[in-house]
């Protein structure tokens, strides 16, 4: 049994230690916000936070997350309040198909947590997730908007 805390809730999962965190979340715990895109940590659609750090869950064995805190897109809104990044994503109509967006949002939240007012260069360096629909321009705009939002520092 491997113990995991996902979005504040404890789970014990009986799986192989090398099973990627992504597939434990999706197929065992039914947490489907993180998406499968490549399986080799290239695209970032599976991005979740492990103890606050963004990781590509398709390439993290579940054993590496044992006893630790996992945050996914489903756990981002608090007490019915959207995270400022989510708010900015809606205000700026960022997503198109939306498949990569839970990963993009988790990457953006992590960026703002360590750098509350990122420059364009900081955004370039941090936001390496692939979006095939081409929402990059609006992702940049929304990150700047979230950085200006009063609640972002607390997030």
């Amino acid at each position: 049994m491997i113990e995991l805390t996902v979005n504040g809730k404890k789970h014990n999962v009986d799986v192989e230690p090398e099973m990627p965190l992504l597939w434990v979340l999706r197929d065992v715990l039914d947490v489907k916000g993180p998406k499968f895109g490549c399986g080799i940590a290239q695209c970032g659609a599976c991005t979740v936070h492990l103890n606050g750090e963004p990781v590509r869950s398709c390439s993290v064995p579940v054993s590496a997350a044992a006893g630790q805190k996992v945050l996914t897109i489903e756990g981002l809104a608090q007490k019915g309040q959207l995270h400022p990044v989510q708010r900015a994503w809606i205000d700026n109509e960022v997503p198109q198909c939306g498949y990569c967006q839970s990963g993009q949002i988790m990457a953006a939240v992590a960026l703002l947590a360590r750098n509350p007012s990122p420059s364009d260069k900081d955004i370039d360096a941090a936001m390496t997730n692939i979006c095939r629909c081409g929402t990059y321009a609006r992702i940049r705009t929304a990150i700047h908007a979230a950085a200006k939002s009063p609640k972002s520092a607390k997030a």
Binding site: Q86, E93, Q96, T128, T135, Y136
Partner: protein, 728 residues
């Protein structure tokens, strides 16, 4: 319960849905086979196939096509609502059922979201559906008040009787309205009276996406569901010769290993176990006839098409090209090449299916629910009416999930072998990259003959490529579908319809069908031929010492819409104004999918071949601009899609196999490479054009023409990485 998307979901709804996320049954439609069809209490009254009105004045507008990020799930209902005169804030959108479309004689018409045609092909019947429902609601209110309907008006979900000022809401008269006969003729609003069309409207699906509760095909979850990973023959057209699964038998979670003739599937209790086990299944492939093919042998095949004297179809012939070219004062000739390209949808291909008691339920990300339904019925051997294709959001489509339904046939074949058990089949990224229906490669020869002043008098193009329509759609290439027998309209798009005033034109098509499967892409022929046409026009302008913009203007005087978008875009970009040292411009213009587009690129190229795009100005005239903010998004997306393709996109073949496998060797553009894209929506009205694809057409030639201006090097093949160029 049908999946209904709230315009502005209430917080309460959000929390409820969050708790239920992943519950495919709670969010999807009731399955046909395994469970009883879900009845919908308090569902409201259906006024017609498109409009349902609830007693509380909630308005449900049905949407028949698919949503893959192109925004039509919002803009198509806008057309209904415009005429319905309803309160847009109370509108919810619900997918029309593919099964019901079969049973109700296609009440919702074509369900395919392909070819940038959702708006342009359905605008008339959607607006009429809204207007018809409005007239019925007015008639019902008038009958209730015993007044002439002509004294009543409708606005914001209320009917008002002018003389008496009485008002009643839609919900109160919906029951009575539904019982009335629909008027045969309805008058549609004049464009100047539109209240919703042309306004930037928020997309319905975005809040769900941002909250992580959007349901894609891959998210389907059913009780007792198993998971399948598949391996197909690495050489197209091959099949399984023998399979040995001894190594994985009895392994944890492995339920079954299936030999399905053209592929092998491992069925397990989660997808990761299935995929891992698949690696240990020994498969002996019969690769068939194509095991030695390579990109070089394919090039030879296409080159033979360029040189052939036979099996050539003449698509267009104006004047006498041969005579005019022979007599020309100056002659130009060139050969252009565009490679095979994969779609690389972010969500890999997949399909969940249950086959039970002669019925089939399918959950799949599809651009054409009717085609998926037909493929499922044929694979399972059941009548169409025994199949439901449950509607989900698509993790990208780009043409991959419409014409080809291979993933549905696979999913249903597996489910049939596992009769009674729901199975979710999912491809790995490697399968997805190596078993696509690729944007065709094409080899194109162009010639031009000029007079003494450098004016083109003769233009020739011959395209050698695989025909999508004859190999995938299996449609005979004949009029009226084709311009001429033997011509695939996609293969000659934007060459056949060359709008420039050139008296002698000959356009030929050499249909050379290779073994590499081809399919529609986000902008098919328009992703390659405008690159050739607009680059070669630039070559002519350069050879004549003319400004590329003025040169095009002179040739487009008789094509006012092409001319207008060219001029508007050039003006927005400041064509002709001074540029900083080392910065150069390129321009291109095209028509496609019913819209006119132009692009101006401003860039510099450094000594390492790094291309810095300072500005990319994209102009579009889609006739009517239904949802301008969405059009801007589509143009921004078009820039990313085309820049990715033109800088890095290339599928190559070795030993009959695709050499690329995943994003490390099939490179995608990242955010840091995104240039400044400025969009100019110059809607001139009077027609309805597409917006998902046409924006791409002018981008590659505008950039390559700017690279020529910067370096003197003419780019005649893509991708640019093969010319030592990369995006800074």
């Amino acid at each position: 319960m049908k999946k209904t998307l709230a315009h502005q979901p209430a917080r309460r709804e959000f929390l409820k849905a969050s708790a239920a996320i992943g519950g495919g049954l709670t969010l999807g439609c009731g399955p046909l086979g395994v469970f009883a069809q879900g009845a919908k209490p308090d569902a409201g009254v259906e006024i017609n196939a498109w409009v349902v009105i609830r007693p509380d004045d909630g308005i449900v507008i049905r949407y028949a096509r698919s949503e893959m990020g192109q925004g039509s799930m919002t803009s198509a209902p806008m057309l209904v609502a415009e005429e319905l005169e309803c309160d847009w804030r109370r509108v919810k959108v619900e997918y029309a059922s593919a099964n019901a479309n079969v049973k109700r004689k296609r009440a919702w018409g074509d369900m395919a979201a392909v070819g940038s045609r959702t708006i342009r092909n359905s605008q008339e019947y959607l607006r009429k559906a809204g207007a018809t429902a409005r007239e019925m609601l007015i008639a019902a209110a008038a009958q209730q008040w015993k007044v002439p309907a002509s004294e009543c008006t409708a606005q914001n979900s209320f009917i008002t009787h002018g003389p008496s000022k009485r008002r009643v809401s839609y919900g109160k008269v919906a029951d009575a309205a539904a019982k009335l006969e629909a008027p045969k003729e309805v008058k549609l609003k004049e464009p100047k009276a539109w209240k919703l069309i042309g306004k930037p409207v928020k997309r319905f699906d975005i809040p769900d996406t941002v909250m992580g509760r959007q349901v894609y095909g891959i998210d389907t979850q059913l009780p007792g569901m198993l998971y399948a990973a598949v391996a197909q023959c690495p050489v197209f057209g091959g099949k399984v010769k023998a399979m040995d699964a001894a190594k994985v038998e009895g392994r944890r979670g492995i339920v079954k290993v299936l030999n399905v003739e053209t592929f092998v599937a491992v069925v397990a209790d989660n997808w990761w176990r299935a995929k891992e086990a698949l690696r240990d299944v020994h498969i002996d492939w019969d690769v068939g006839a194509n095991g030695n093919a390579s990109t070089a042998s394919l090039m030879e095949f296409y080159r033979a098409g360029l040189d052939a004297k036979e099996d050539i179809a003449v698509s267009r012939k104006d004047g006498d090209f041969d005579q005019a070219f022979g007599a020309a004062a100056k002659k130009l000739e060139a050969e252009y090449y565009t490679p095979y390209l994969a779609h690389a949808c972010m969500e890999p291909m997949g399909c969940t299916a249950v086959v039970k008691d002669g019925k089939v339920d399918v959950w799949t990300s599809t651009q054409n629910a009717e085609a998926s339904l037909a493929a499922a019925a044929a694979t399972a051997g059941v009548p169409l009416e025994n199949v439901e294709v449950h509607r989900v959001q698509l993790g990208g489509g780009f043409g991959r999930r419409g014409g080809a339904q291979d993933f549905v046939r696979q999913g249903v074949a597996i489910a049939k072998a596992m009769e009674g058990t729901p199975v979710k089949m999912l491809w790995s990224r490697e399968e997805d990259t190596q078993h696509d229906f690729y944007r065709p490669a094409s080899l194109i020869r162009v010639k031009a003959g000029l007079d003494d002043s450098g004016n083109p008098l003769a233009w020739y193009s011959r395209v050698a490529s695989t025909s999508i329509f004859s190999t995938l759609v299996r449609l005979p290439l004949k009029p009226p579908f084709s311009p001429v027998e033997g011509v695939d309209p996609q293969s000659v798009a934007s060459l056949h319809d060359l709008p420039h005033s050139i008296p002698n034109v000959k356009i030929e098509y050499a249909q050379r069908n290779a073994f590499v499967p081809v399919g529609f892409w986000r902008t098919v022929g328009h992703s390659q031929n405008p690159f050739v046409r607009e680059s070669f026009l630039d070559e002519i302008a350069a050879a004549s010492g003319k400004d590329p913009y003025e040169f095009r203007r002179a040739l487009l005087q008789k094509s006012p819409k092409d001319l207008a978008i060219l001029e508007t875009t050039a003006k927005a970009a400041g064509w002709g104004s001074p540029l900083p040292a080392g910065v150069f411009r390129g321009i291109a213009e095209t028509e496609g999918y019913g819209s006119y587009t132009a692009a101006v690129a401003e860039l510099s190229v450094d000594k390492n071949g790094e291309v810095t795009i300072r500005r990319l100005v994209l102009g579009i005239d889609p006739g009517y601009a239904v949802n301008p903010d969405n059009i801007q998004a589509q143009l921004q997306g078009s820039a990313v899609f085309m820049l990715t393709a033109m800088f890095w996109g290339e599928i190559t073949i070795k030993d009959g196999r695709v050499e690329q496998s995943n994003f490390h060797d099939y490179r995608m553009m990242r955010l840091r490479e995104m240039p400044k894209v400025e969009t100019v929506i110059a809607a001139t009205g009077g027609f309805w054009g597409g917006v998902g694809e046409p924006g791409q057409a002018s981008i590659a030639p505008a950039i390559c023409n700017a690279i020529f201006a910067a370096t003197g090097k003419r780019i005649r093949s893509l991708p640019l990485k093969n010319h030592g160029l990369t995006l800074a």
